[in-house]
C-alpha cells in the first residue's frame, strides 16, 4: 500500500572492531601490509570475519505507516543509534534495503554546525541549511523560530556569548521547524531546563498530530509513553518486540535492563588481589511490596590473609549512579578472619521509592577510612509499583526518589464564615 512511509527489510550493519575508536596512520598500514602474508599463512586461508568484527544491527525489518509515531527503545549498544544513522543516511547498511517515502529530516543532535563566531541570525540560516531547509523556507519561518527560542534580543550577538540555555533553545527551535514528511529524532528532547523540555515535548506532540511520521530514539520513557503509538524494542542489534502496546514494550525494556544484574561473581586466585578480604559473590533478593520493600544482599566473602575484623555497608544509587541512600547495618557481628569462605546477609528495609531502576554498591572494610573491597553497582533492582497504593499516575524522578509516608486530612475550618451561597 502507498501509506507505508518507511519499510526496512533485513538491514544489518557490520563494524570492524576498533574501526570507530581511532584513526589510522601510515605506520599501521605498513604494519598491516607486512603482516598480511604472515596472517594468511597462519590462518591457512580461512577468513577470520568473526574475530574482529561484530554486527551492530542484524536482520532488522519493520514497516512504519504514514503518521505513526514510533519509539525505538533498547539498552546502550542495542543498535538504536546505528539504526538511526542508517535511516538518516549518515552511514550505509552492510546489507538490506530501506525504502522511505517522503523527505526525511533527521535530528541526531541539535545545533549541528552552529558556529560560535556567527550570530544567532546567521546560525539559524546555516543550521537550517545543514538540516536540509531551503533559504526561502527559513525566511518564512524565521520569526516563528526566534519567538519559539525566546532570543529576539540577542539575534545579532555571536552565539559564543549565549548562555547554554539560549544556545540550546535556538538550536532546538531551528530543528523543530524542520518540516519533512518523515522525522528521525534522537534524544533531542533531553535538552534544556525542565520548562523548555516540556515545551519541546509539546512541539513533538504537535508534529505527531500533523500526520507526519516520527521515529523517536530515546532512553527517556516519558515521551515514548506519551507520544508514541508504537514501540520497537531492540536488543543485541535485533528486533525483540514491535508492538502498538507501548506499555508492554516499556515493561520488557525494564526487564531487559536487570538481566544478569541480580547476581555477581568473581573467582579469586590466592594472592592476586592486594586486599586481605574480598567479595567473591553477590546476590540480591527483593521481597515484599511497596511501601515496605525488603532488599536482601547475600554476600560471599573470602579471607586471603589474616585481617582486622571488618564490617559492611551498602549504597543505593539511581540509574545514573547518583547515591540516594546508604544502609549502615548493625556493626556486630563483625566479619572475622576465617580460612573458609563466609556468607554475610544484609537485610534492608527500603523506604517507599518512586518506581524506577536502582543500583546497589557494596563495601567492606575494618574502618571507615580503610577499604578492603568495594564493588560498584554489581546489582540492580527495579521498583514497578507506586509507593502510594491507589495513586498510579506515571511517576517520574524529577521531584525526588524517596516518598516519605504521608497522610492528609480535609475538614471544614472551624468558626469560618460562609463565603458562597450554597446552590440547591
Amino acid at each position: 500500500m502507498s501509506d507505508i512511509a518507511i519499510s526496512a527489510s533485513g538491514i544489518g550493519k557490520l563494524y570492524k572492531l576498533g574501526q570507530r575508536e581511532r584513526y589510522r596512520s601510515f605506520r599501521d598500514l605498513v604494519a598491516d601490509v607486512v603482516k598480511a602474508p604472515l596472517r594468511r599463512f597462519r590462518s591457512s586461508g580461512k577468513q577470520d570475519v568473526g574475530a574482529s568484527t561484530f554486527w551492530a544491527l542484524r536482520d532488522v525489518s519493520f514497516e512504519v505507516r504514514q503518521g505513526e509515531v514510533v519509539g525505538i527503545i533498547g539498552r546502550n549498544g542495542a543498535g538504536k543509534s546505528t539504526l538511526l544513522k542508517i535511516l538518516s543516511r549518515i552511514t550505509e547498511p552492510t546489507e538490506g534495503l530501506v525504502r522511505m517515502r517522503g523527505r526525511v529530516g533527521s535530528l541526531l543532535e541539535v545545533g549541528t554546525g552552529f558556529h560560535p563566531e556567527l550570530t544567532g541570525r546567521e546560525n539559524t540560516y546555516l543550521n537550517g541549511a545543514i538540516l536540509g531547509m531551503k533559504k526561502a523556507e527559513i525566511d518564512r519561518k524565521f520569526d516563528e523560530i526566534v519567538a519559539f527560542a525566546e532570543v529576539e534580543k540577542f539575534l545579532d550577538t555571536p552565539v559564543k556569548h549565549y548562555s547554554s540555555g539560549m544556545y540550546i533553545r535556538l538550536a532546538f527551535a531551528v530543528a523543530a521547524h524542520l518540516e519533512t514528511e518523515i522525522m528521525v529524532v534522537d534524544e533531542v528532547l533531553a535538552v534544556g531546563d525542565l520548562a523548555f523540555q516540556r515545551k519541546c515535548l509539546g512541539k513533538m506532540g504537535d508534529v505527531a498530530k500533523q500526520g507526519r511520521t516520527v521515529l523517536l530514539v530515546t532512553h527517556n520513557m516519558l515521551p515514548v509513553r506519551t507520544l508514541c503509538t508504537r514501540a520497537i524494542l531492540l536488543a543485541e542489534g535485533r528486533v525483540v518486540t514491535d508492538t502498538s502496546d507501548v506499555r508492554h514494550a516499556i515493561g520488557l525494556y525494564s526487564g531487559l535492563k536487570t538481566e544478569g544484574e541480580n547476581g555477581w561473581r568473581r573467582s579469586v586466585t590466592p594472592g592476586s588481589p592486594e586486599s586481605p578480604l574480598v567479595f567473591t559473590s553477590l546476590r540480591r533478593v527483593l521481597s515484599g511490596e511497596q511501601p515496605s520493600l525488603k532488599l536482601q544482599i547475600l554476600a560471599e566473602l573470602q579471607s586471603l590473609r589474616p585481617h582486622a575484623p571488618a564490617f559492611i555497608a551498602v549504597d543505593i544509587l539511581d540509574s545514573d549512579a547518583t547515591p540516594l541512600i546508604q544502609a549502615i547495618p548493625t556493626q556486630t557481628p563483625l566479619i572475622e578472619f576465617s580460612s573458609t569462605p563466609q556468607e554475610v546477609v544484609v537485610t534492608i528495609n527500603l523506604p517507599p521509592l518512586i518506581p524506577g531502576t536502582y543500583r546497589v554498591t557494596v563495601w567492606a572494610g575494618p574502618h571507615y577510612m580503610t577499604t578492603f573491597d568495594l564493588i560498584e553497582k554489581p546489582l540492580t533492582f527495579i521498583v514497578t509499583d507506586s509507593p502510594q497504593p491507589g495513586r498510579s499516575f506515571p511517576h517520574g524522578t524529577d521531584h525526588g526518589y524517596l516518598v516519605p509516608e504521608s497522610t492528609v486530612v480535609v475538614r471544614p475550618l472551624r468558626g469560618a464564615k460562609r463565603t458562597l451561597e450554597q446552590c440547591t
Binding site: 584513526y23 550505509e92 558556529h115 541549511a129
Partner: protein, 278 residues
Amino acid sequence: MTETSALPILEIRPTKGFLSLNLGEIWNYRELLYFLVWRDIKVRYKQTALGAAWAIIQPVMTMIVFSVFFGRLAKVPSDGIPYPVFAYTALLPWQLFAFALTESSNSLVGSQNLITKVYFPRLVIPLASVLAGLVDFFIAFIVLLGLMMFYGIRPTVSVVWLPLFILLALATALSVGLWFSALNVKYRDVRYTIPFLSQIWMFATPVAYPSSLIPQPWRAWSGLNPMAGVVEGFRWALLGNASNPGLLLWISTGAVLLLLVGGLFYFRRMESTFADIA
C-alpha cells in the same frame, strides 16, 4: 492517498561496485554549498586585528621577499617585466591554490561533527573550502591592478581567458584536495604532509622564475604540473609578454582533468565510510 504517492522515494542500500558520481545531487544541495562558503568567509578574519588586510599582506610580503632575494640579489630573469609584477602575477593564483588545497584537505576532518550527524553529499565540504578562497584572491587582485598601473603595464586582449585560468587553479586545488581530504579521514599523516608538499610544489612551479629558464623539450612537459599552466596562463593573459603557452596549457588541462575525475571517484568510493571512521 493520491497525495502520498507523489512523494519522492528514497532507497537506502549498501553501495556495490562502480559508483556513479551523482553530481546532480550537488546541484540539489547548492544552497548548503552557498551557506558553507558564506560561513567560511564570514568566520575567516573574525577576531583578527587586521581583518581582511591579511588577504593583501600575505602575497605582498612574499612578493617583496622574492623581489629582494630572487629579483635583486640572484638576478633571476623575468622576461623583461619588472620583477615585482612578474612575481605577484604568479603569487596570486599560487596563493589561491595553496590556500584552497590546505583548506580542502583538512575540510572533512574539520567537519566531523557535521559528517556524523547529518546527511548531505560530502563533496560539498571540500568544494566549499575551495570556493571560499576566492574572496581573498579578489582582494589581492586589486593590488595587482595597482602594481600594473604603477609600472604602466596594460593587459592585452587575452585577459578574457583569465577566468579560465582561475578555474584551472581551483580545479587543481579541488582535485588534489579530494584525494587528500578523503585520505586524511583515514590517515592523519596527510595533515603533516601538506605544508611541505606545497612548499616543494611552489618551487617546482615557475612562480619565482620564468618557465623560459626550462630548456625547450621539457618546457611543455612541465605542464604536467597543472600549476605551471595556471601561472604561465596568468602571465600571458595579464602581462602579455610571453607567447601563448599553447601546448603547455593543454597538457596542464589534461593533467587536471585526469586528477579531478580520479579524485571524484575516489572520494565517492570513500564517502560511505567517512562517518564510521571520522
